[in-house]
């Protein structure tokens, strides 16, 4: 026989009282743990939602980027690299550059590690009269696209562009702009004479609404030969892949670091349209993300506010409940307490009987309350206990706090009734009964 077995047997005998107390603590702590878990789960979910949104934004931006790249590619070149001494006024007046640079320049760009240019397209353009047709044309000799080896993702196994904007034109072939083909009455597959030489028309381009419509493209070497410009070109068309406004203009700096004797003409309207569209899309996603973060933050604050009110109220309610429960238990056991005092039980032992019982109630209530709270709190936020996120909700500090706090709460609540039991005057009880 020990004080422990007296407590144990009393609990077993009067289990209704014990179970009610235990449930009271379990419900109170369940609410506390549930609330804390709910907040933690909310934070986890918020993090996940924000991560997902950010990922979604990033993917959308990447997709957009890809779309823009394709669109830009389809829109044609947006940069023209010219010799440094080329007058832009003269270029506009003549419709073609009139200063030259070595064809090797394109090689230098191709291998120079340039970041923001792609689809390098060296040209030798001359504004001339097509003598056989008596038409003003822009004659453009080209050797096809030269790859930028800094951007291998766009190249095939042979080191050529997978989706080139323009193909090389073989010797003996020409390509015609829409308007000049129409004016000359020429169609694809026809043979035309140009500067006393015969060429097969391999392609007639669709109307673009610019000087391309009056351009005749042919092999670079042939144009160099006609104009006695061996090894020379007068422009390198390229596609600039700038994604942000702040990068706008950087390409000239980049090119000039490799080719100091050049200048860069950016076709601003196309570039700006692209950048603005991209910026708007990015802003739209960021706004959506900000709204989501703000909404979840607000929801979290509302829940925190509720928890701040709920937790003290619930704990106070549980304490009051336990107080009356133990007080009732003391009242019911007055005769037993009196006889215990009579046979030699001191005040400390009598208090111990009630306080140990309260502490046991607290421990058992804490275990049940914790399990209840974490399961329901997590489930409320859609986190089931077998999911990996559930592990993040297990907070050792909270477990420690609950396992110490619950018995402490029960002991504090039971202190006055236990003291009352210890101070019961056995003479009064024995005389009254």
């Amino acid at each position: 026989m020990s004080i422990w077995s007296i407590i144990r047997k009393e609990i077993a005998h009067n289990r209704g009282n014990f179970v009610i107390g235990l449930l009271c603590i379990a419900v109170a702590l369940g609410l506390v743990v549930g609330s804390v878990t709910l907040l933690a789960a909310h934070d986890i979910n918020t993090e996940q939602v924000v991560d997902a949104k950010e990922r979604e934004t990033r993917e959308a931006m990447e997709a957009l980027e890809d779309d823009y790249r394709m669109m830009m590619r389809d829109m044609g070149y947006n940069v023209l690299v010219l010799s440094a001494d080329q007058s832009i006024d003269e270029l506009r007046m003549h419709g073609a550059p009139n200063t030259y640079m070595p064809v090797d320049y394109v090689e230098a760009l191709s291998t120079g590690g340039i970041e923001n240019l792609n689809h390098l397209f060296p040209v030798l353009q001359q504004r001339v009269t097509w003598p056989e047709k008596e038409r003003e044309i822009i004659l453009c000799g080209t050797m096809g696209q030269v790859p930028n080896f800094e951007k291998p993702q766009f190249l095939n196994d042979e080191g050529m562009y997978r989706n080139p904007i323009r193909e090389a034109i073989p010797a003996g072939a020409v390509e015609l702009g829409h308007d000049i083909a129409r004016a000359a009455g020429v169609a694809e597959g026809d043979v035309v004479t140009l500067f006393d030489e015969e060429f097969t028309v391999q392609r007639v381009h669709v109307r673009r609404g610019n000087e391309d419509d009056v351009t005749v493209w042919c092999d670079l070497a042939k144009v160099q030969e006609w104009f006695d410009l061996d090894g020379q070109i007068n422009g390198i068309l390229a596609l600039e892949c700038v994604c942000h406004f702040e990068e706008f203009g950087l390409v000239e700096q980049e090119v000039q670091e490799i080719l100091p004797a050049t200048q860069v003409m950016e076709f601003g309207t196309i570039m700006r349209a692209r950048l603005e569209a991209r910026a708007r899309a990015e802003q739209m996603h960021e706004t959506a993300l900000d709204q989501e973060i703000a909404y979840r933050g607000q929801l979290g604050e509302q829940r925190q506010g509720l928890v701040r009110i709920l937790v003290p109220v619930v704990l106070l309610g549980a304490a009051v409940w336990i107080f009356f429960l133990i007080l009732g238990n003391v009242k019911d056991r007055q005769g037993e307490i009196a006889v215990m005092r009579t046979v030699g039980f001191g005040e400390g032992k009598i208090m111990g009987i009630f306080l140990i019982k309260a502490a046991l109630m607290g421990v058992a209530g804490a275990v049940i309350g914790y399990l209840l709270g974490i399961t329901v709190g997590a489930a409320w936020e859609g986190i089931v206990f077998w999911s990996p996120e559930f592990g993040q909700l297990i907070n050792p500090a909270l477990i420690g706090l609950i396992m110490i706090g619950a018995p402490a709460l029960a002991i504090i609540a039971g202190w006055i009734p236990a003291m009352k039991a210890a101070q019961l005057d056995p003479a009064v009880i024995l005389r009254e009964e």
Binding site: M1, T342, V343, G344, F345, G346, L430, R431
Partner: protein
Amino acid sequence: MTENAVLRTEDLSKFYGRTGKQVTALENVSIQVEPTTFKVIRGPSGSGKSTLLLAAGGLLHPDAGRVLVREEDLYAFSPGQRTVFRGQNIGFVFQQFYLVPYLSVLENVKMPGVALDIPDLDERAAGLVERFRLGHRVDHFPSELSTGERQRVALARALVAEPGILLADEPTGNLDMENEQIIVDCLREYARNGGAVLMATHGLRTDGFDQVYQLKDGKLQE
């Protein structure tokens, strides 16, 4: 007055209530109980018998006078010391038994051992259970016992610490004739074996007791 009395009260007085509406429960009561004696306090209800026993047992502080148990002044002790001293030296039996409902017969008998250091507790408890013919009831709970059996359990519990004196407050008040005789015989046997018994009763029987104190309105009658 003999020097070897287990219990002595000297001019014990106890009053209940406030000044002006005061009720005298005991007035200058002096008694003594020696070892091997079985003494009785007799008197009608409200005569002060229970008050005398409670005061004599260290449970009710008297307003005047002294209580000496084995020559120790009970009320000179601190409350804590008095509790331990009482447990070791004074046994109580009440009319209401006050058995602990969730403990078995044997556990009820052994209960004082939780509070006091009682040597050979198990043997003593087992011996008392047998002596009071409760051997077949050791694992039973109070609710499963007859009234007489309950009082015998209470008596065994009172004797397990082998106190010098047993104070019995109407221990046969709830019992039939047969059980009354059994309890009285048990008390008598205890006295014969060296114990001292002071029993309060409102019964009329006076035979077989070493001394009968007559109490009326808190005063001993000559």
